[in-house]
Symmetry: D2
Subunit: 295 residues, 4 copies
């Protein structure tokens, strides 16, 4: 897939200075649409538990470190005899190290990010454009497609989920996507990883050809239960993360990764209220998140 | 205020092994009740922006550190000539350093936490009981009381908000609290801090006498725009954090601190759908959060 | 090996409150003795290079993380047009993660450290007794024994170097140990690890029976090119680190690990001026070090 | 002071690819010269104790964080009943945050470092040229000048120590500097800081005019008991750190800062064996150090 020899059509769609991309499609109507799907009011968290030193985690990133700055042992050891005691902790956390939301500043091509912002805006001081604190809360309808059923298109890794497969799966939900929706894709990789049948070196994911349709449907964000939403590694070694480029960079559509969709998929529900609240890390290029689906 | 010479009445209320406390009151009905308050579908985030090296932050805790592991400068410096580029980051974060939710494992008295669990369960390895990953998503109705209007009970610091003041304020909302609700209290401290009129050494907050009523109303969590929900420093120097002990330890009611209630208070709305999704940090005693109010 | 059913003979040798152990044997005469061995004045560093994310590293410890807080890329990206530029960095470092010196507070048995100090002194706040900042600079004579020559007692892993083998090797140096000396032992593990022939799961090292003789010779510290100086894992699964207990805890003799002895051993020199300067980390239980041998 | 409109004369002196600068003057003879000064064999450490959360520390850098990963409290809290116990720790450390050695990669002017190496070599991945791991151990003669005596040129802050004052002070030692020596300068700032009479906002230090003479004398490194060796802030606001540029960048002479010279100065000794062993942090731009003076 070639990228960006031409100016992406979506650039400028929401103004020359825009930093939020397709989130501009997200408004109160999307929240109401999400709310309208709620039946019993049950909530399901979608974050993988954060365990110090454990994965899954993409290459090069460091596992979580969790330090107790004060704990019960201090008191057991006689630190103080007063009745009151407390514990405090601190983490060293890669923002992309667990269930997380990528900022639009996370990727670029030819040194230009979403909407043509220069990657020069991203330095040791953080991202001055398209950072994660531009996102704000996402409250909308989520649509889940579960492609990992046995015999389904994603019951193994090393497979790219084609546009046809994605369209069919969304169609099968009976939901008609609308501007502001979030698409969640269960590839099955996380479940296979937990069973020891998959590694962080190979995962099923969406093929780049899905990008245009995803955008046309009005999705503002795509999340998946794998490392990169798109297939990994990329089918084209010369094109590291084509779907990241097509969605994030060219269309301003956010990606959310390492999403735990097991419990949600087990409900059989395809649409639900979905709430994603990234931490407003000023200048950040990602945030850990614990998305919530309300059924 | 004396604590815990007797076994708190709430211990055992949800079983001898319970670790979630009053969150046991929280169920699908609470979410539906919250959803029922939604009118236009507008979302307001309640987290203070996370800025490296900046506060507000309670004593002894270290400000956020934000490191860019890869950035646009690497490419500007010729790290690679390939078109594709990405940025990654990492944080060193005190879980209680910004807008956050305390775990029930955060405090104890006489070496016993909520429900009598021993503080021995909280060591360098984290909390084996009552940790933040026991909380799960909180989706419910939120009730906001704004006590910081000029001339109101909390238009200055060094003041404890009395039970009478709190009851009156909740009454004035026209809302009748129900089991599962969350109470948000605007003390005005954060606004005063931003204007340079307050410091982390002194803040208005709830008086300990509010605890029983809060519990009786069925609130599962209390959040505030100050450092500790309760007044700080404590009126009794021999009793470091009496409301923490009464609510968290004795009643299993969670506390959420450094909540940015400015925009929410400006709406004039008293009740709304509220979603709080702590990161499932296994063994953690707190989590940064970005709560979302949907109006 | 049984430990500490009896009070170790060395406890109290330098006073009931002593925290420095056998370092009390170290004085100006030891430095002069070390200096007397210097011939040409050539220096050899003994630290393994510290590489972010790389080992070797003992289990459970996290590899180094190295963050650039400011770098040349910031300027290439146009952060500033001023002529002057600088770089700054920050590390997240396990003190025992690379070439390092253990503090006497690093280990205990039956909750008592060196000289009977209670392990209660070691809490989240650090070590109040026997911490690494008690050590100070070590300037003395070093004696190197290279047991890893082909066919030698340590040309493979999974082997404990016996007292007889150690005594013979020291004898073969022609040096007579004196009070204040440091003993360096080349087991060959690091070289084998670098060749991919060894892992952090198994390493040759000294047998616990060596402890008494080491103490009698007057050595103040033992260093080795492996993870624990002693054999690993311990020959007795019920006795995790017997030599640590016998040397550090019972005799106040420090241990230094992951020492790179390759270049030093290649010189064929057995004695040299040795300087070890741990960082004075107040309350720390270890320090990275870059020891220097001067020949 | 103008910088670098011309190619510095020292560039290329030790080859076009050199990364060690004036350290090339340092060899075995320097170590022997240092050793020759030793009289009684007494060692004095020159590092300021590293205390978590404490200074002194230069602006923008974060104080040390020290985390106990395992401690005695864990055992007091019943983590395990086995006899053996251990403690482990981890630090989050700014390499320039305490007594430290700057790498030659630490500063540049017009995007060129020492010997013309481009600052493009310094990215998020660290410094590919002139990093701290190029330094190696420094074992040489140290010459101390104490300018902070009452009435002396540096008994207050806000003062630049002139070339004339420096030359006179070195002359007064009776030592004739030789190629390979290290110059240590006591400005008195640290002592004043400890007494609460100085802050990190203003410190006495060397004037930039000292650079050429320092180089001509053959010094390989200059250390001082202040934040930057040179006066701070710079006398010329348009020239941030002129001595850094003249010494590090133009002449390849290393700087070492926040050196605790109090005990050494109290000996009255002007020359001594000096050992500085930076951690071989690959790609680092600084290292904490605990230099040792042997008298």
């Amino acid at each position: 897939m070639t990228h960006a020899e031409h100016r992406p059509a979506a650039w400028g769609r929401w103004g020359a200075d825009d930093e939020r991309g397709a989130l501009n499609r997200l408004g109160p109507q999307a929240a109401l649409r999400g709310i309208a799907t709620v039946r019993e009011g049950r909530s399901i968290p979608l974050a993988v538990p954060l365990r110090a030193g454990k994965g899954p985690i993409a290459g090069r990133r460091q596992p979580l470190q969790h330090f107790m700055v004060r704990d019960g042992g201090d008191y057991a050891a006689g630190l103080t005899e007063k009745g009151f005691g407390f514990a405090d902790d601190c983490v060293v956390l890669s923002t992309h190290g667990n269930t997380h939301l990528d900022a639009l500043a996370h990727v670029w091509q030819d040194h230009r990010m979403w909407n043509g912002h220069s990657a020069d805006h991203v330095t040791s001081h953080g991202a001055r454009r398209c950072a994660i604190d531009r996102v704000g809360p996402i409250v909308t309808r989520g649509i889940l497609v579960d492609l990992a059923a046995p015999g389904g298109p994603s019951d193994h890794d090393g497979h790219a989920i084609s546009l046809a497969e994605l369209v069919a799966a969304v169609g099968a939900t009976g939901c008609t996507p609308a501007a502001g929706d979030v698409l969640l894709v269960r590839t099955g990789w996380l479940a296979r990883w937990r069973r020891g049948e998959a590694t962080e070196a190979l995962w099923a994911g969406l093929a780049p050809e899905c990008a245009e349709w995803i955008d046309e449907q009005g999705f503002v964000l795509v999340g998946a239960d794998n490392i990169a939403v798109e297939q990994g590694p990329s089918a084209d070694p010369a094109d590291t993360a084509p779907l990241h480029v097509e969605l994030i960079r060219n269309r301003g559509i956010h990606l959310m990764e390492l999403v735990d969709l097991e419990a949600l998929a087990a409900t059989g529900r395809a649409e639900f209220l979905l709430m994603i609240a990234p931490l407003p890390l000023v200048g950040g290029v990602g945030s850990p998140v614990n998305p919530v689906a309300v059924l």
